[in-house]
């Protein structure tokens, strides 16, 4: 059995430039020195996630002398990342493994440790939501100013302000999802995403992909206008450039770690067993260039989702697989709260992705979100609303419904926007009580998804927010029995006027019996 590598928390390392970080920087530097068409180069690896000539030129990552690889090479390796799909987690795990092996080979070639492993960034841990310091300055420890971990194109959550993960905008709610896979019809999208084929850019993201994955991308990359009125958005803000930012890999290592934490808490959480997930062979393979076994050049490594399930078999682990953030994931006590009494024995299981999904209501049409936000009334149909209420009343006897807010067909000409979404009964928020926060959504990939001749045919993206907690609270206050809900959608940083966001429809769904 090969040695097991341990990925460690970047903020818990001995110092800002501890060995795993220092050698990561050396490895990145070596990869960056390679030409674009070298499969083991930094930019080639970025392009495996996604590539766009114009965007790369805009960011200064494509020069006149660069060789754009052949169509065959691009069809094999590039623009491969799986988003809006139940392959999101396993595909990125293979991507990380191959990247780690490539950096390790470069580290060894530079005289570094053969057991080097990629660190991860657990922004949820107390005091660790700041960008790790080695990434925030152009200086190496010796003062030289070409530190490859530093990237200028990170604009943070405050429209070109400091770069950090605003903990008020991220959550770990997905860790409570009982099922890995979900539905794209308005209900839970599951922990890991919706059953798809090879899906480079799906419409509906899974729970862990929406939060914290997408939101961290948006918060680190950011979007805003500089003093000259030029649009600025970060490498991390959009899939076609995200892999070029060295912090991308530490962020994804944390998402990868959260997958394993979810699998263990509780152990009844399991990966899909469907053959389509385990070993289906699609028209494109999951394939990565990796250093050749004989040390000469590269070779292609193919893998399936099923092969990515077991960390032990993959030869690595994390220094913390108990805590998603600072503490173990909390067991939800929803039904006890609703019922005010213990749940009947044998009826403890929550409503998972297999429950019946039904539209409860919707607003009257498209809305445009400007810097000041927008409010819209979501009219509720009496019969399904009554079904929700009845299920909440009967929480002691059977699993109550879950309720989801859908922001359908979100389109925008820029990525990097993060929206805060509030839900309430009309008039309730004016009584001095804070509005009920439904959650945050980040528009990662929405720019391309809004283009009609793109993979998403201009449908944009649809975001699904679990508002079960909000509805439970309203129910307990007897304010859910209303004809409509007021939904307010507010960008967390100003959106330049030229780049407004449109939402095709705002709707509410129930999922239950």
């Amino acid at each position: 059995m090969a040695e097991t590598h341990t990925r460690r928390n970047v903020w818990d390392l001995e110092d800002d430039w501890a060995e795993p970080i220092y050698w990561y920087a050396r490895g990145v530097k070596a990869m960056q020195a390679r030409p674009l068409d070298d499969p083991l180069s930094w930019r080639f690896y970025g392009a495996i996630h996604g590539a766009d000539r114009q965007l790369w030129q805009f960011f200064g990552y494509l020069g006149a002398n660069d060789t754009w690889p052949s169509l065959q090479v691009r069809n094999t390796y590039w623009a491969q990342c799986q988003h809006g799909s139940w392959f999101f987690l396993p595909w990125h795990r293979g991507y990380l493994l191959a990247f780690e092996a490539t950096v390790r080979a470069a580290v060894v070639a530079e005289g570094g440790p053969a057991d080097w492993a990629l660190p991860y960034w657990n922004y949820f841990k107390d005091g660790q939501n700041g960008l790790p310091r080695a990434f925030a300055s152009a200086a190496w420890p010796d003062g030289q100013d070409d530190n490859p971990l530093f990237v200028e194109q990170r604009y943070g959550p405050g429209a070109l302000g400091p770069v950090f993960v605003d903990l008020a905008q991220v959550d770990l709610d997905a860790m409570s999802e009982p099922d890995f896979t979900g539905v794209a019809s308005g209900g839970s999208t599951g922990f890991g995403g919706v059953n798809t084929g090879f899906e480079h850019s799906g419409t509906v993201h899974g729970g862990i992909e929406d939060q914290p994955h997408d939101v961290v991308h948006g918060l680190v990359g950011g979007v805003g206008e500089d003093a000259n009125g030029n649009l600025r958005f970060g490498l991390m803000s959009t899939p076609d450039s995200a892999g070029l930012d060295p912090i991308f890999w530490l962020h994804h290592a944390n998402i990868d770690r959260l997958w394993e934490v979810w699998r263990r808490h509780p152990p009844t959480n399991t990966d899909p067993t469907s053959r389509r997930w385990v070993d289906e062979l699609f028209e494109r393979a999951f394939v990565m260039p990796v250093p050749a076994a004989d040390g000469q050049g590269d070779e292609a490594w193919t893998y399936t989702a099923g092969e990515m399930s077991d960390l032990g078999a993959l030869g690595y682990t994390y220094d913390d697989l108990e805590n998603a953030g600072d503490a173990p994931p909390a067991a939800p006590d929803r039904r006890a709260q609703l019922a005010g009494a213990p749940v009947r024995a044998g009826q403890e299981a929550p409503v998972g992705s297999s429950g019946n999904v039904e539209l409860v209501g919707a607003n009257s049409g498209p809305v445009t979100v400007g810097s000041g936000g927008v409010g819209t009334d979501v009219r509720l149909d009496p019969a399904p609303r009554e079904a929700v209420r009845a299920s909440l009343d009967a929480a002691a006897d059977s699993p109550p419904d879950r309720v989801f807010l859908n922001l359908e067909n979100i389109r925008s000409t820029t990525d990097g926007v993060v929206l805060a979404v509030y839900v309430d009964a009309p008039g309730q928020a004016d009584g001095g009580r804070p509005e009920r926060l439904a959650g945050h959504v980040a528009l990662f990939g929405v720019r391309k998804a809004s283009v009609i001749d793109s993979e998403l045919a201009g449908n944009g993206v649809t975001k699904v927010l679990d508002i079960t907690g909000v509805v439970d609270a309203m129910h307990l206050e007897s304010t859910f029995d209303v004809a409509s809900l007021l939904v307010r959608i507010v960008p967390t940083a100003p959106i330049p006027d030229r780049y407004r966001v449109t939402i095709g429809r705002v709707s509410v769904y129930r999922q239950g019996r």
Partner: protein, 271 residues
């Protein structure tokens, strides 16, 4: 191994569509309706839908009369060939409608779509009939249609239409708008479908024999096309961007494996 909720939803939507399509195929096989305004002779083979001996001539020889004469056959053809492709669109209408209005909205979508396509198919059939009526050699007509279909299939315009068949717009949940919105969706969906498939759909109207097998092959080709991911419109877009699409899995594995490809060994980077 269990079926996923998303797969179950897809099956639930597809089953009635497949059932309707299968019924249409059976009707086309056992009681072929008029598909052409051409002359019919009892001596001609029965597998020839357009020339079936059982098919009466249009009682009204005007253009309107011809169209009315051809409509039932065209509608049956659309149900047989196109409804199996409607799973994603019907699933969208089903999922985004109130449960109490689902039957109404799904039916409105299907009626709008089928009407739109049927009119177009009737025009295609009438065009094919007109070509024969003016005395063009059937072999020449078939060759011309095949060339046009081939060129259209690999053209950027076809890809542009195909991309738009993947549009799934938001629509109203309440009031008359819930129906008018899906009727608009059904009509535009049909329009882009016609734009994408018209050239291939001309072929069954001009082949001299074996209509049903030809329609079957075209249906499979359309399905292969329709369920592919949209891509940038350009010549040979589909073949360029997805060279292994439609290739059987074992052969696909061989085609894409480079000599250096490895599977199963986890990369370590420590040579």
């Amino acid at each position: 191994m269990t079926i996923t909720p998303a797969a179950r939803e897809r099956r639930r939507v597809r089953f009635p569509l497949f059932l309707a399509a299968a019924t249409a195929w059976v009707l086309l096989a056992v009681a072929p309706p008029p598909m052409s305004a051409g002359k019919h002779h009892a001596s001609e083979p029965h597998d020839h839908l357009s020339m079936s001996a059982t098919v009466p001539e249009p009682s009204d020889p005007t253009l309107l009369g011809t169209v009315i004469h051809l409509l039932p056959g065209a509608a049956l053809m659309v149900v047989a060939m196109m409804w199996p492709l409607l799973g994603p669109a019907v699933g969208h209408v089903h999922a985004r409608s109130l449960a109490r209005r689902r039957q109404q909205t799904v039916a409105s979508f299907l009626i709008a779509y089928t009407l739109g396509w049927t009119l177009a198919a009737t025009v295609l059939a009438a065009s094919a009939a007109a070509a024969t009526a003016v005395g063009l050699d059937p072999g020449v007509v078939l060759a011309a249609v095949l060339v046009v279909a081939l060129v259209w299939e690999v053209s950027p315009s076809k890809q542009r239409c195909l991309n738009r068949t993947h549009r799934h717009p938001a629509f109203a949940a309440f009031g008359p708008a819930a129906v008018t919105d899906v009727v608009r969706f059904g009509t535009t969906h049909a329009l882009w479908c016609v734009g994408s498939c018209w050239a291939l759909m001309l072929i069954p109207f001009v082949v001299p024999a074996g209509h049903l097998p030809v329609m079957g092959v075209i249906t499979l080709w359309l399905a292969h096309d329709r369920f592919a991911t949209p891509t940038e419109p350009r010549w040979f877009a589909s073949r360029r961007d997805r060279p292994h699409r439609g290739v059987p899995a074992p052969l696909r594995k061989r085609l894409r494996a480079t000599p250096a490809a490895v599977h199963g060994r986890v990369p370590s980077g420590r040579s």
